[in-house]
């Protein structure tokens, strides 16, 4: 076929592009993904029975803000990597800043605590399962964010997959925190982060296959 004929074919009878089309996909994905994550947290695990007391603890909200901030930064990374030719800019630095802030907070807690309490502050009672449960809760969000990316045109497939996995992990951790009994900064700084990194690594490794177009 002549290239000129293809140009005519593509240009004829075009419809206006609806700029809200991409936004709608984000809204659907976030809503569906979070509902799915809550369903796993409440259905397969269970909501923390002491939640009504925990919401009075500042640490409950710090933990939630930490997850929500990382999730939002993950979404910002998705939004940039989903469009051709847009740089990540300050997003990775923002993620680093949030993580380091939690580590500094965790270090202060550990340094000021009596030596015999430190292991418990770091490990709580659920360290062995926490990252895997976060990854499990993140699964519906992972599917939702891959769907968002597939609706656009990522050109760097591994970073895009990683961004999708990271955002899923962070919002998954937010949902999981309604089950999780751990409220110490060292625990959240280590095990929550590991939980977010599991879907990140999965996203980076599956990205080239899932997101190719």
């Amino acid at each position: 076929m002549k290239t000129d004929d293809l140009v005519s074919l593509l240009a004829s009878g075009i419809e206006p592009i609806d700029a809200r089309q991409i936004l709608r996909r984000y809204v659907l994905a976030i809503t569906g993904g979070i509902l799915g994550a809550l369903a796993i947290t409440g259905g397969i695990l269970h909501f923390n029975r002491t939640l009504s007391h925990e919401v009075l603890e500042p640490m409950f909200w710090i933990r939630g803000a930490y997850c929500a901030a990382l999730g939002s930064l993950g979404l910002a990374a998705i939004a940039r990597l989903a469009r051709p030719g847009i740089r990540l800019g300050v997003v990775p630095a923002g993620i680093g800043a949030v993580v380091i802030a939690m580590w500094i907070f965790a270090a202060l807690i550990l340094l000021t605590a009596p030596a015999q309490d430190r292991a418990h502050l770091l490990l709580g009672t659920t360290a062995a399962v926490c990252p895997f449960l976060i990854a499990l809760v993140a699964a519906p969000l992972f599917v939702a964010f891959v769907w968002v990316l597939r609706g656009q045109a990522p050109t760097r497939l591994r970073p895009a997959g990683a961004a999708g996995g990271f955002a899923a992990g962070a919002f998954g951790a937010l949902a999981y925190s309604l089950h999780c009994p751990e409220l110490t900064a060292p625990f959240i700084g280590v095990w929550y982060l590991l939980g977010m990194l599991i879907p990140t690594v999965i996203g980076a490794s599956l990205g080239p296959r899932l997101l190719r177009w």
């Binding site: 076929m1 002549k2 290239t3 293809l6 075009i14 089309q21 469009r83």
Partner: protein
């Protein structure tokens, strides 16, 4: 060159709101830049350049909703062009045709190659492989130039089904071209 960027960007932006003649000009002028961009990077695969030019035009058309009018057009176009070029070379696992695809080209809109050209595959034959719900909308609206409403009547589909058929059909064509190229 800045002028060319501005001109093409404004043509594309008009195309995005449905101005077909501006969009036709955009694709036509872009083709010459794409061809030149690819010729310089595929010097060892000259016979495949035009195939990729067309694959790129389809990709750019199918992904035009990802263009942000605030963004430099060069960056958007080159990111797609580079992605598709690397994809082609990976498919071949023949990286020797690659000169320096990772470098952005400051001169993108300064160079053109307008030699009329033809790709090796036959789009009409590929179109035949699509299901009717995609093939007929493309045939009537995109090739014969019917309005969406007329095409909907002729096929007996709703107008939105015609639009969806065109959209999915062009995506399916892009996949078919990729798998044979």
């Amino acid at each position: 060159m800045q002028l060319m960027e501005e001109r093409l960007r404004s043509l594309l932006v008009r195309g995005l709101v449905g101005d077909a003649s501006a969009y036709r000009l955009f694709l036509g002028e872009l083709t010459a830049h794409l061809r030149s961009f690819l010729r310089r990077r595929m010097s060892r695969l000259p016979e495949e350049t035009e195939d990729l030019v067309q694959e790129l035009l389809l990709a750019i058309h199918n992904q035009r909703h990802t263009y942000d009018p605030e963004q430099p057009l060069t960056a958007w176009v080159q990111a797609i062009a580079r992605y598709k070029l690397i994809d082609l070379l990976r498919r071949r696992s023949r990286t020797d045709g690659l000169n320096d695809p990772l470098e952005d080209d400051d001169e993108f809109f300064a160079v053109v190659d307008t030699e009329p050209a033809e790709a090796r595959y036959d789009l009409a034959k590929l179109l035949q492989q699509l299901p009717d719900r995609q093939r007929l909308p493309i045939l009537y609206v995109k090739i014969e130039g019917c309005s969406v409403a007329d095409a909907a009547k002729r096929i007996g589909m709703s107008e939105s089904a015609v639009k969806v058929g065109i959209h999915r059909g062009l995506k399916a064509l892009a996949l078919k071209i990729r798998s044979i190229a």
